[in-house]
């Protein structure tokens, strides 16, 4: 018979080996499927996937930039997750920030200086993101409502608001889209640092370090960890649980808002309800895969962006369907998550029992 039992603990080295083997098996299965389904040479397919992120200088920069954006959203949801508060509203919080930024760019155009506008954009984006997270947080702290559903629903509200303004402020008329905001004047566009990608990347690095220390070395970080582990214990040692919940969610929203600001002001210069592109949900996965450790999140953000870009490259470069690339991505993620099972559990096989004498 097969018996599954929990492992006590596993050394880091062994855990790493299990993960490596898992990834290797995933790649193997991907190759196999590629050969069977498409008849393509798997090495060529993998080379194409690789080219998706590192095929040219520009692609590498875009890869880094996208990684930075995903990383920032992942960092944003992490303090809430550490507190066992399942904030699934990052998508909406990013949109709220993006919308606030857009509104500033659109409404303030020509009325104030560029620098003032950017400060307004930054400030209002962070406030908007924080409000979007703060509403469910308030209800959770006060009435113990379910934050998962609440934050999820807030996403759709945000999407509809963005869609509404896209039509209201459409440009050109009749397109139903906003187009590039202030294309001629470049009003409210963030200044470039080095090149047009570097600003986001630097901010993401700073934020990663900030979050690492915030979670592990500050009183706030300690408080929210205790609240997550045991609310009763938190109350018992005098932590004001409601305050910690609201404070942590506000921080989550703030960073999401900041990301929205960067997306509109620095990267896209336009807005649509698709601007977050589902990354609010991908971030949930990144945060979990990294076990809420900001440093490890860098790796997983990069991996997911790499695989996503690879899937697109497959679609164009090899003429394979993009869905095929996404399938391979899914298989790899399945194996990555699957290896966690083998890290936590041990499987042993028993022979038929011997007869007793």
């Amino acid at each position: 018979m097969i018996q599954i039992s929990k492992r006590g603990s596993l050394s880091r080295g062994k855990a790493l080996i299990i993960r490596a083997v898992g990834l290797l098996l995933g790649i193997l299965l991907c190759s196999l499927i590629t050969v069977i389904v498409t008849g393509q040479n798997p090495t060529e397919v993998f080379a194409t996937i690789f080219k998706g992120s590192f095929g040219s200088n520009r692609k590498t920069w875009i890869f880094l930039q996208n990684t930075a954006v995903l990383l920032m959203i992942s960092l944003a949801v992490t303090p809430a997750f550490r507190m066992r508060c399942w904030n699934l509203g990052a998508e909406g919080q990013v949109l709220a920030g993006a919308m606030a930024t857009t509104a500033c760019m659109y409404l303030l155009a020509g009325k104030v200086s560029n620098a003032t506008a950017i400060i307004c954009m930054l400030f209002s984006a962070m406030v908007a993101g924080a409000v979007w997270a703060g509403i469910p947080a308030f209800f959770k702290a006060r009435f113990n409502t379910n934050e998962t559903l609440f934050t999820l629903m807030m996403n759709y509200v945000a999407m509809q608001i963005v869609s509404f303004f896209c039509v209201k402020w459409e440009n050109p008329k009749g397109s139903g889209q906003m187009g590039i905001i202030n294309q001629k004047t470049q009003f409210g566009w963030l200044p470039q640092v080095g090149n047009r990608y570097l600003l986001v990347i630097i901010l993401a690095v700073v934020l990663t370090l900030f979050m690492f220390f915030y979670l592990n070395s500050t009183k706030h970080g300690f408080e929210l960890t205790v609240v997550g582990e045991s609310e009763r214990t938190a109350r018992y040692v005098g932590i004001k649980v409601e305050r910690v919940i609201i404070r942590t969610m506000l921080l989550s929203g703030l960073i999401c808002g900041l990301t929205g600001f960067l997306l509109v002001g620095g990267i896209n210069h336009n807005v649509s309800s698709e601007i977050a592109g589902g990354q609010g949900f991908t971030a949930v996965m990144v945060s979990w895969l990294a076990k809420f450790n900001p440093i490890i999140m860098v790796l997983f953000s990069a991996l997911l962006i790499f695989l996503g870009a690879g899937a697109k490259e497959l679609a164009t470069g090899l003429g394979l369907n993009q869905s095929f690339g996404e399938m391979l991505t899914a298989i790899l993620i399945f194996f990555i998550i699957g290896s966690e099972f083998f890290i936590n559990y041990k499987i042993s096989f028993h022979k038929k029992e011997r007869e007793v004498k």
Partner: protein, 508 residues
Amino acid sequence: MEERIPAVAMRDITKRFGPVVANDNCWLNIYRGEILALLGENGSGKTTLMNMLSGVYFPDEGTIAIDGKHVVIRSPKDAFALGIGMIHQHFKLVDVLTAAENIVLGLPGKLDLKAATAKIREICDTYQFDVDPNQKIYDMSVSQKQTVEIVKVLYRGADILILDEPTAVLTPQETDKLFAVLRNMRNDGKAIVIITHKMHEVEALSDRVAVLRHGQFVGDMLTKNTNAQEMTNMMVGHPVVLNIKRPEPVNPKPRIEVKGLTVRSMDGFLKLEDVSFTANSGEILGIAGISGCGQKELLEAIAGLQPVEAGSISYVNDNGEREELLGKDPLSIQSMGVALSFVPEDRLGMGLVANMDLADNMMLRSFRRGKSLFTDRHSPHKLAENVVHDLDVQTPSVETPVRRLSGGNVQKVLVGREIAEAPKVLLTAYAVRGLDINSSYTIYDLINEQKAAGVAVIYVGEDLDVLLELADRILVLCGGKVSGIIPGRGAKKRDVGLMMTKLGGVGE
């Protein structure tokens, strides 16, 4: 008599959880028509061994034979088919269903509640159980729920019953009732195993005792041929002195004065009604009562964790100045020197964080100190090392998550941290819940040390025998009201038991 074929023969059973060996080549005989008391310190593998018999765990090595026939028990279902039923410490009942519904839940075949009810009544009559099949579980007392659990396993045809610390939640009177029922079942030829830490229960009830130590079988003997001292020595592995010290209080002065305290639970039930008493410095005030009679609410009210409807709680300092505690938040009450070490049913639910290591758990009390935004990890680490050293906590290191420690060690960590705060008032509830004798005595000594240092100790206990030996005064709660406050010296167990169930007890 050893020629009888045992109902259950476990041989060379080994079970590992990761690097921890819970049972090491353990063996055990259980006979029909006998009550076997399974003894051992915390973490000696009693519950694990029984869990393997009831199909919760599967042994890594070893064999089990029922009535001489070799069997493989893969699941609780297999165990039931072999007539093995276990009553766990935590009841597994559905609150909104009736007793009868709970009993037939999960059984195959057509649902015929009427027939089932009749059969349940029959079982109850045979063994003198006091249970109404149509009563909902949420309407039942703890003792009634336990009865339902026992009837449940009997209904399923169990004739080998395992009870894991069945008396931990019962009053003395309820315990007597349970014992009478168990004796009836024994006389009916069933095999019964009870796991307990209370020596006087072992002596009163069991026919045979088996002792485990560090996961290994040490020996078994007839209860009538042994005594508490010998059994304890076997459990611990070296001679232990079995008596609780009760030094005279030193210069007792009022420290906490509670007047007319009334507390209502969230759903509007009166948990405490007009409770008044004084706790003195240098004295242990014991609180007795059936579980759930307001003990928890009382301590939490003093610690500022429980909203209060009426009354006052004042703290009197060394100079005789009083300060009202009501309306203060837990943090400022703590800073006045009122420490709460509360050990709830699930041990880790309050006061400690299971997933954090010892040092971080020490930090729970101290992390706010200083103006810095960052936490100071150095002093909690040192404190953890001191507690481990002073209280002899068994742990691989202070970086070990608390959940990996056994119950006794968890409690030592909690009590150690609270004492390290040098409190003026120490509130402890169920400090020795589920602890073996050795650890319990360590905790009693710690509490006595605090008393000697002039701390006002309020001790909520569930073992009346201990309460009677340890406390200077005993406050008995009954249904949230003070049933009486009596001196601990000379108090009779019977009287306290009566006061627990009836206000003021029975006048004599």
